[in-house]
């Protein structure tokens, strides 16, 4: 479904990614781990066209992703969440989720200003879909609340709802349980598993919480200093000497 091949990104003298390659099969969940600064988020940014690699290719269902303008990525069925939340703080939770459906709407400025019948219809459809998602993720109570000021765990769910509103086939989660309490991590993992099932999603997850990654993912890719140092099923990765060295260092 997704094929990343030989991606390299350099920021000035720093090589953030160095020839990283891996594939994501449809319906699987791939975990992306590595110490801080390993290049995980940079890789995500390449996948959503926020950053253009200096070398390498990214193919999504046989289409060259790097040839697309950034705003077209959502329309292809790729959604993401952000490491430090990328919500719209002054908008209500419902509007946040409805913006997720932006790429599916057709209404232009003029039609919107005149509020043509088809605009009303589309608006109703988007709203109904957003309501469904809000109910599904237990957010119906806070739908009219501005996003700012809600608890962090709730905001994480709002962001997930917004990403689902894109109707993605590939969902990229950037540190989804970062900052959540122990109990919340378990709940969020269950939620991700459930929506993955319901919406038939393919997942790529960046996460430091090993329990979360190992419990969710079918395959784990480990990066260190921009290079891929290991790839394989979670059980193998946990025993891989290179991974252990990257995380803990070796005994002197």
């Amino acid at each position: 479904m997704l094929a990343v091949d030989g991606i390299s990104v350099r920021f000035g003298g720093i090589t953030a990614l160095d020839g990283v390659a891996f594939t994501v099969e449809p319906g699987t969940a791939v975990g992306l781990i590595g110490p801080n600064g390993a290049g995980k988020t940079t890789l995500f940014n390449c996948l959503t066209r926020r950053c253009t690699p200096d070398a390498g290719t990214v193919r999504f269902e046989d289409e060259d992703l790097l040839a697309l303008p950034p705003h077209s990525v959502a329309g292809r069925g790729i959604a993401r969440t952000f490491q430090n939340l990328g919500l719209f703080p002054r908008l209500t939770v419902r509007d946040n989720v409805m913006i997720g459906a932006h790429s599916r709407g057709r209404t232009g400025h003029l039609a919107a200003a005149l509020r043509l019948p088809r605009v009303r219809r589309e608006e109703r459809e988007l709203r109904d879909h957003a309501e469904d998602l809000l109910r599904r993720l237990g957010l119906a109570d806070v739908a009219d609340h501005p996003a700012s000021g809600l608890p962090f765990g709730t905001l994480k769910r709002v962001e997930l709802a917004r990403a689902l509103a894109v109707r993605p086939r590939l969902l990229l989660l950037d540190e989804p349980v970062n900052g959540l309490s122990h109990g919340e991590v378990g709940q969020f993992a269950d939620l991700v598993r459930a929506v993955r099932e319901d919406f038939d999603l393919t997942l790529v997850v960046v996460e430091h919480h090993m329990g979360f990654v190992m419990g969710l993912c079918d395959k784990v890719v480990c990066l260190d200093f921009g290079r891929k140092i290991a790839e394989g099923p979670p059980e193998e990765i946990q025993r891989d000497p290179a991974v252990i060295e990257a995380y803990l260092g070796v005994a002197a």
């Binding site: 959503t48 926020r50 303008p69 950034p70 705003h71 077209s72 990525v73 959502a74 329309g75 959604a79 993401r80 952000f82 430090n84 939340l85 990328g86 919500l87 719209f88 703080p89 002054r90 908008l91 209500t92 509007d95 409805m98 913006i99 997720g100 932006h102 790429s103 709407g105 209404t107 232009g108 400025h109 919107a112 200003a113 005149l114 509020r115 605009v119 589309e122 608006e123 988007l126 109570d141 806070v142 009219d144 609340h145 501005p146 996003a147 700012s148 000021g149 809600l150 608890p151 962090f152 905001l155 917004r162 894109v166």
Partner: protein, 378 residues
């Protein structure tokens, strides 16, 4: 949570009352020209004219998060389009409106292009330059614009069937234009396009990931905003019957921006309040002190910003939430704490969060400086 549910319930109960309020407002708006003296009706007409320009500026600044110090120039462009068409080509008043609107839309589209690369103060500077260079340009193009002397054109005349006086007719024309403009702005904002605009304001990169085409929505925001200013300028010419370069100095642009901020950014009816402020306060300041009306005007702006940091439009909501807070303090207080307590770590952005004011769906009270007095929280 339950407070929110309660808020929703009262919102529903409020609907008939809102309809009643709207009906009352319409009645007042229609009745006003028959009650007031011609000069006062003229002042009201000008409030409506400025409100259209402010509604446009609001789209750009309040909802779009961009800034323009050049809206006086778009206003002037609309006014001169109408004046030149009436003076040279004798087209009739109504024909000038679509031309002024379309011309300013294109002009705004042109100015939207630098807005893609510049932001904040830099964008303000570029738009200010437009406002600064337009009056001298109008003076130089004397064969068309009449130079420093300006152009005198026919005012709008009431048709015989209406049986209205000139000032009353112009009032109703301005009222219609303002009502349509505010309605269009409202429709725009409550749609996919408007949400995209708000999303770009709040978080550009997240908006782009959601599929919002930044360049399109940012330039169109500029174009719409300029269109409103141009329409407003066009009606200005109809009402005043005279344009000159000195009426449209860059001070006008700054006055418009000040009016918008005082009226209430990102509020649907803030432009009306802002327009009233721009219209009445300077002359009122003149009454108080002949020597320094500017000082009085400036001081008043400062006072308003202290008392109502979210603008006059936000004042109503603030007073209401203050009043609502009194009774809730005695009733189950712990219910509120889970919502207000995690404020500090809740958002990554520096937004401080006021308790939601149900009256104002898009409160602009996110600025940390403008946070309501929360020190006296329980």
């Amino acid at each position: 949570m339950s407070t929110i549910v309660a808020t929703l319930a009262t919102d529903r109960a409020r609907r008939p009352r809102a309809a009643l309020t709207a009906l009352l407002a319409v009645a007042v708006a229609v009745g006003a020209p028959f009650y007031f003296a011609p000069f006062q009706v003229f002042q009201l007409t000008m409030v409506l004219v400025y409100a259209v320009a402010l509604a446009g500026l609001n789209l750009l600044v309040g909802f779009g998060g961009q800034i323009s110090l050049g809206h006086g120039a778009f206003f002037a462009a609309g006014a001169y389009t109408a004046a030149v068409m009436l003076d040279r080509y004798d087209t009739g008043h109504l024909a000038t409106l679509p031309v002024a609107a379309a011309g300013c839309f294109l002009l705004g589209l042109g100015f939207g292009v630098p807005a893609l690369r510049l932001r904040g103060l830099y964008l303000a500077l570029v738009t200010l330059s437009f406002a600064v260079f337009l009056p001298p340009l109008l003076k130089r193009l004397e064969p068309v614009t009449g130079g420093s002397m300006g152009l005198t054109v026919d005012k709008l005349q009431p048709p015989a069937w209406s049986g209205l006086a000139e000032d009353q007719w112009m009032y109703f024309v301005a009222l219609t234009v303002a009502a349509v403009a505010l309605l269009l702005a409202r429709n725009l904002l409550r749609s996919r396009a408007g949400r995209a605009l708000l999303a770009v304001r709040d978080n550009e990169s997240a908006a782009e990931v959601m599929g919002v085409r930044l360049s399109l929505h940012k330039t169109l925001a500029f174009a719409w905003s300029a269109l409103f200013a141009g329409v407003s300028g066009c009606v200005y010419t109809w009402v005043i019957g005279y344009v000159s370069p000195d009426s449209f100095s860059f001070v006008l642009s700054i006055t418009l921006l000040a009016g918008l901020v005082v009226g209430g950014l990102a509020s649907l009816y803030g432009p009306l309040l802002g327009a009233a402020f721009v219209m009445y306060v300077p002359s009122w300041a003149q009454d108080i002190s002949d020597a320094a009306p500017g000082v009085v005007f400036g001081l008043l702006i400062i006072v308003v910003m202290f008392v109502a940091p979210t603008g006059l439009a936000g004042l109503v909501g603030r007073l209401r939430s203050l009043a609502a807070r009194r009774p809730t303090r005695t009733t189950p207080a712990p219910d509120r704490t889970p919502e207000s307590a995690p404020d500090t770590d809740a958002t990554s952005a520096s937004e401080s969060s006021a308790p939601p004011t149900p009256a104002d769906p898009a409160p602009a009270d996110a600025e940390p400086v403008g946070a309501p007095p929360r020190t006296e929280k329980e």
